[in-house]
C-alpha cells in the first residue's frame, strides 16, 4: 500500500515492532515472548501477529490474566537463562504487577553484587487520544525512570520501534519498553538513520528554541516546527534511562531556550528532571526560563473533546515556542 514516493522500506510502526520481535526470537533461542493473547490471536492490537505460527507455542506463550504471575515468571526466567519479552497490555496495568518490576527485576542484580543478570524486556503501550478512559490512557514512564536499575525506552519512529526493541532484547538489563498505540498505524522508513540505545536524536535542526520530547508528541513537535516562524530544534529523547543530556545540553547551549513536551501529566513528570538539570547546568546560558508542556493534573476523561483539549497540540507547542523566543 506504499505510495510511489515511499522508499521500499516504508512500513508501519506496528510492523516494525513485529519485525524486531521476529528477529530477536530468531537470532537467539533464549528469547521468548510472553503475554495475554500474544500467541495464536496475535495480540489485542495485532502487534505479535504471525509470530506464534512462525515460532510455535514454546517461544510465543499465551498466558491467563495473571500479570503478577507471568511478569514475575518472566523475571525469574530471565535470571535463569531465558531472555523474555513480556507484554503488559496497557501501561496502566502495571498497577497489578509492579512488584516484579520494582522490587525484583530492578534490584536483584545489585543485591547479588552482579551475580544475577536479568535480561528482560517489559513491553507495554500507552497513548492517550483514543477515548480509552482514565484506566487505559496513562503515561507512567516517570515512575520507571525514578527506579534505579531499569532502562526506559520510548520509540517514536518506525525505525526505532524495530531497532530499539532489538537492542532492548540484547541488553543484559531489564528494559521498560514503552510503545505508543497512537503511532501503531503510522508509517515510516524502517531503515532510517539508526542510532544506538542511549542516544537522543536531533529530529529537526533549528536555531531558536530547543524542543525535547518523546513518544507520540514527537510528531506534534515536528508539526510545530513546520509552522514557523521560530526555528525549532526538535530532539527525540528515545530513552529516559539512559538519559542523553549531552545532546540536550549541546543544543540548548546554542539556542538558549528549552521547551519540554510530553504526553504524560506535567506535574512530577519526567520533563521536570530535564528542566531541573538544564536549569542547573546552563544557568548562565539560558536566555529564557525552561518551559514544560504536558497534560494537566487530571485523570484522562473519556470524551474525545475533553481528551483532545488536555493533550499538547502542535499549535500549543508552536505558541509556547514562539512565546519563549519573544521572551528573550
Amino acid at each position: 500500500m506504499s505510495s510511489a514516493t515511499e522508499p521500499a522500506t516504508e512500513i508501519r510502526y506496528i510492523d516494525a515492532l513485529n519485525a524486531g520481535m521476529a528477529t530477536a526470537i530468531e537470532e537467539d533461542e533464549r528469547v521468548v515472548l510472553i503475554g495475554i493473547d500474544v500467541g495464536a490471536s496475535g495480540g489485542i492490537f495485532r502487534v505479535t501477529k504471525g509470530l506464534f505460527d512462525r515460532f510455535g507455542p514454546e517461544r510465543v506463550i499465551d498466558t491467563p490474566i495473571s500479570e503478577m504471575g507471568f511478569v514475575g515468571a518472566a523475571v525469574g526466567a530471565a535470571m535463569t537463562g531465558l531472555r523474555p519479552i513480556v507484554e503488559i497490555m496497557f501501561m496502566d496495568f502495571v498497577g497489578v504487577c509492579m512488584d516484579p518490576i520494582l522490587n525484583q527485576a530492578a534490584k536483584l542484580r545489585y543485591m547479588t553484587a552482579g551475580a544475577l543478570e536479568i535480561p528482560v524486556v517489559f513491553r507495554m503501550q500507552t497513548g492517550a487520544g483514543k477515548s480509552a478512559g482514565a484506566q487505559h490512557s496513562q503515561s507512567l514512564e516517570a515512575w520507571f525512570a525514578h527506579i534505579p536499575g531499569l532502562k526506559v525506552v520510548m520509540p517514536a519512529t518506525v525505525a526505532d520501534a524495530r531497532d530499539l526493541l532489538l537492542e532492548s532484547v540484547r541488553d543484559p538489563n531489564p528494559v521498560v519498553f514503552v510503545e505508543n498505540r497512537r503511532l501503531y498505524a503510522s508509517k515510516g522508513d524502517v531503515e532510517a538513520d539508526p542510532l544506538p540505545l542511549g542516544k537522543a536524536r536531533v529530529a529537526q535542526a533549528g536555531d531558536d528554541v530547543t524542543v525535547v520530547t518523546w513518544g507520540q508528541m514527537l510528531r506534534r513537535c515536528l508539526a510545530a516546527a513546520d509552522e514557523g516562524p521560530a526555528s525549532l530544534e526538535v530532539i527525540d529523547l528515545r530513552s529516559l534511562v539512559p538519559l542523553d543530556m549531552e545532546t540536550v545540553i549541546e543544543s540548548v547551549q546554542r539556542t538558549g531556550r528549552l521547551l519540554i513536551v510530553h504526553e504524560a501529566v506535567q506535574d512530577f513528570g519526567a520533563g521536570a528532571e530535564i528542566a531541573a538539570r538544564v536549569g542547573d547546568q546552563l544557568f548562565d546560558e539560558l536566555r529564557t526560563p525552561v518551559r514544560r508542556l504536558g497534560a494537566p493534573s487530571v485523570p484522562m476523561p473519556f470524551s474525545p473533546d475533553l481528551e483532545r483539549a488536555l493533550l499538547p497540540t502542535s499549535k500549543a507547542i508552536s505558541a509556547a515556542a514562539q512565546a519563549l523566543k519573544a521572551e528573550g
Binding site: V96, S297, P299
Partner: protein, 306 residues
C-alpha cells in the same frame, strides 16, 4: 432482558458506525445473568462490575438516557462524559461502576460489604466478574477476605467461555469456579446463566444468606458471549458451530417460551415489552445524538472534593 438486548444491539451498531467512541464490550447473550441478579437485589444493594457492564447497570435500573448519553460522551451523560462505556456508574443506584481493570470489581465489592456490615445496613454487595478474572490475584485475595470476614458479598462469575481471544478452559487446570470457591470455604453453585429464573432464584437465596450474616456466596453462571471480546473482533478463534449452538439457547427466547407456556404472559404482552424496550433505546439514542459535548470546564472538575 429485552431492554439489555435492545440496548446492546444498538450500541454495537452505533460503535461500528463511529457514533460511540472508545472501547465497547457488549453482553449480548448474557442478559439473563444481569436480569436475574438485578431483579433479586433490593434498591439499596451495591454492584461493582466490569468492562462488560452495560447489562448489569440496566438491570439495576440505571437511567437509559443517562447511560446512552454517557456512551456518546455527552455532558449530560451519567458521568458527564468522563466515564464512558468501561466506567459508567451511578452510585445513587448502588452502581459503583463498570471497571476496566480485570479483577478490580472484587475488592471493591468486598469493601462495600464491609461498609454494609460494619454500619449495620443489611445491604448486599455484588461483584460481577468474568471467568477470566478468576486467575487474577485480586479474585483470590478478595474471595478470602469476604470469607473470613463473613461479608454480605455475592461473587457472580459470568462464565462466558472466553477471556478475550482465549478459551478460558485452557487457562487453568480447574475450570470450575465452584471448585475454586471451595478453597476459600465459600459455598457456591453453578447456575444456567441463560435461564433468568434460575439466576434469580439463586441470587435471592444468596442475598438472604448475606442478610442473615452467613457470609459470601459465589454464583457461577454458565453463559456465552455472542459478540467478540470488543466490538469489531472477528472471533476467528471460535470453533465452527459453537456460536450457533449457543444462539439456540437465547436467554430471551427461553424466558419467553416459559412465560407463554405457563400463561404468565401472552405473545402480545411480550411483543409489547420488546417494543417498549426498543422505543426507550431509540429515544435515548435520539436524545443522545442531540446533546452537546461536555463543557470544556468539565475536564478540570471533580479531581478533588472539598
Amino acid at each position: 432482558m429485552a431492554l439489555i438486548r435492545a440496548f446492546e444491539t444498538r450500541v454495537a451498531e452505533l460503535y461500528r458506525d463511529g457514533e460511540i467512541p472508545g472501547f465497547v464490550h457488549t453482553s449480548l447473550g448474557q442478559e439473563a445473568v444481569a436480569a436475574g441478579v438485578g431483579g433479586a437485589l433490593q434498591d439499596d444493594d451495591y454492584i461493582a462490575t466490569t468492562h462488560r457492564g452495560h447489562g448489569h447497570c440496566l438491570a439495576r435500573g440505571m437511567d437509559v438516557n443517562g447511560m446512552m448519553a454517557e456512551l456518546f460522551a455527552r455532558g449530560e451523560g451519567l458521568c458527564h462524559g468522563k466515564g464512558g462505556s468501561m466506567h459508567v456508574a451511578d452510585p445513587s443506584q448502588g452502581v459503583l461502576g463498570a471497571n476496566a481493570i480485570v479483577g478490580a470489581s472484587l475488592p471493591l465489592a468486598v469493601g462495600a460489604g464491609m461498609s454494609s456490615k460494619l454500619l449495620g445496613q443489611g445491604r448486599v454487595a455484588v461483584a460481577f466478574f468474568g471467568e477470566g478474572a478468576v486467575n487474577q490475584g485480586a479474585f483470590h485475595e478478595a474471595a478470602n477476605l469476604a470469607a473470613i470476614w463473613d461479608l454480605p458479598t455475592i461473587l457472580v462469575c459470568e462464565n462466558n467461555v472466553y477471556a478475550e481471544f482465549s478459551d478460558s478452559r485452557t487457562l487453568t487446570r480447574v475450570p470450575s469456579i465452584v471448585e475454586r470457591a471451595a478453597s476459600y470455604g465459600i459455598e457456591a453453585a453453578i447456575v444456567d446463566g441463560n435461564d433468568v429464573d434460575a439466576v434469580y432464584r439463586r441470587t435471592i437465596d444468596a442475598a438472604a444468606r448475606c442478610r442473615d450474616g452467613r457470609g459470601p456466596f459465589l454464583i457461577e453462571a454458565e453463559t456465552y458471549r455472542w459478540h467478540g471480546h470488543y466490538e469489531g473482533d472477528a472471533q476467528p478463534y471460535k470453533p465452527e458451530g459453537e456460536s450457533e449452538e449457543w444462539r439456540e439457547k437465547d436467554p430471551l427466547e427461553i424466558s419467553a417460551a416459559r412465560l407463554l407456556r405457563s400463561g404468565e404472559a401472552g405473545a402480545e404482552e411480550l411483543e409489547g415489552i420488546r417494543a417498549e424496550a426498543s422505543e426507550r433505546v431509540e429515544s435515548a439514542i435520539e436524545r443522545a445524538r442531540e446533546l452537546p459535548a461536555p463543557d470544556p470546564e468539565e475536564a478540570y472538575a471533580d479531581v478533588f472534593g472539598d
